[in-house]
Amino acid sequence: MTLADLVRDSPDKWEVQLRKGCLELAILASLWSGRLYGLEILRRLEADSELVVSEGTVYPLLSRLKALGLLTSEWVESDAGHPRKYYALTPAGRTRALEMRSIWQKFTASLDSLLAPLNQEK
């Protein structure tokens, strides 16, 4: 994905890329208050942030975050008959989430100031 691709493609595709870029932070944030399993994380992202991303992206990303030491996982028996894989933040994951949060805030703040003139238009 190059800059040329971003410019050339439709706004929808750009939005998808944008959502993808925030996904790591969104997942870490969703796990802040407690552990969740995959589908719960997906539903939380959908509900709280309208962040609909394909499941085919989320599960490998969860695996990746666990390999990086930001998450732990455990299998828990459920009353539905099959076990579920719950994820939780590690201390490293919490630190990373805070880091990303501050980068995000700085970024949106500076972007907002750039976008101020556009706010005149309706």
Partner: protein
């Protein structure tokens, strides 16, 4: 909760393909991934406690094809293991994977292969020089038509009829530097694969 026969078969077929495509990863990891996906489909496909066939189909299509899904898992696992072990074979596989994903990866692969081959063959010519003093080394062979062919001989065949060997015993220190080139390329590849891996978790294609 139970699935109908057709749904069971569809799900099993999907997971079997997924399992097959994940080969190369550690067995425990493959088992966990397959179980997690199975668990996900069962949960997603059930509305008010009953699993419907339509639910299973739509859950599977939302996941994407098993090949693509496996691809996403494989790339990161390969890169992680290549980085952790620094193994030449894993790094090479990672480079090939990167090359199949982006143009930058393709150029890194080509450049790396050239450096690895050069370093490797220079080292071998140097090692074999004491055994084949007249034949191992860098040969300049004039070709009909005015060209000069430059080739690195390890010394096993008889020496070329025309042309002469240019480096003499200097091939030995150069071969040592060739070993250095090989390992330097390995380090550079490890570093750039690390950067590539980080770029993936920020949402790039994999």
């Amino acid at each position: 909760m139970t699935l109908s026969e057709t749904s069971q078969r569809t799900l099993d077929a999907y997971l079997a393909t997924l399992h097959k495509r994940l080969r190369g990863m550690p067995d425990d990891d493959i088992r966990e991934i397959v179980e997690e996906i199975r668990s996900h489909v069962m949960d997603k496909a059930s509305a008010s406690g009953i699993i419907t066939d339509a639910g299973v189909t739509s859950a599977l299509s939302a996941l994407g094809s098993p090949e693509e899904l496996a691809g996403q898992y494989m790339t990161d696992d390969l890169l992680a293991r290549a980085q952790a072990t620094g193994s030449f074979w894993l790094i090479l596989r990672s480079l090939f994977r990167w090359a199949s994903i982006s143009v930058a990866g393709f150029f890194v692969l080509i450049g790396s292969l050239i450096c690895y081959c050069l370093g490797f063959f220079l080292a071998w010519a140097a090692i074999l020089k004491p055994l084949h003093p007249q034949r191992a080394g860098l040969w300049m062979i004039p070709r009909p038509g005015g060209d000069v062919e430059m080739s690195l001989h390890l010394g096993f065949a008889s020496p070329p009829a025309t042309g002469h060997e240019v480096l003499g015993w200097w091939i030995i220190p150069i071969g040592i530097l060739g070993i250095g080139l090989f390992f330097a390329t390995l380090r550079v590849d490890q570093w750039s694969l690390g950067k590539f891996r980080r770029s993936l978790s920020l949402g790039g294609r994999s």
